[in-house]
Assembly symmetry: C2
Amino acid sequence: MILHIATFRWRDDVTEEDVAELTTLLRDMAAGIQELRSYECGESLRLRPGGADFGVAAIVDDEAGLSAYLDSEAHAAVYERLLGRMIAERAAAQLPVGPGAAL
Amino acid sequence: MILHIATFRWRDDVTEEDVAELTTLLRDMAAGIQELRSYECGESLRLRPGGADFGVAAIVDDEAGLSAYLDSEAHAAVYERLLGRMIAERAAAQLPVGPGAAL
């Protein structure tokens, strides 16, 4: 299985309402994408100094599953509606994880 | 439980040998930190364009567990020996995850 992780630092004009709406939109999106075995997103708990504002962690079976998620119309819709204009910086990586991985 | 995710983009002078050694050092470090319920690290699979070079995902019980990991002598030793000089950019976030979360 594959763990996809992404961190986001927001532009200065992003509001708490934007973040709350984005979190809801992403979770609703994830619920409709069957290739997503596990999915967590949300404002970072900010437990360490200098961290990002928001994080996403998604587990899929394979590269095809990752593409089905990230290239989906649902993901594009969230990006166009809100996420795209919020991003100042984004960083993402994918790691292999075990068959029992879950979030 | 808490999922800590971190992505790294390396400086231009970082070699494949550096990344291989770092991966071994981090995994050996993680094996000795009991607060780490799950830990994955490694070179990103780079399945998407423009991603980071390396990722870390760690699951701990709580904030105290996260501090025990990130403020440990073992973590500091890896940072001083190798990780510190490799980093061009680092981004990290923490997300709440379920009690059964595992990588």
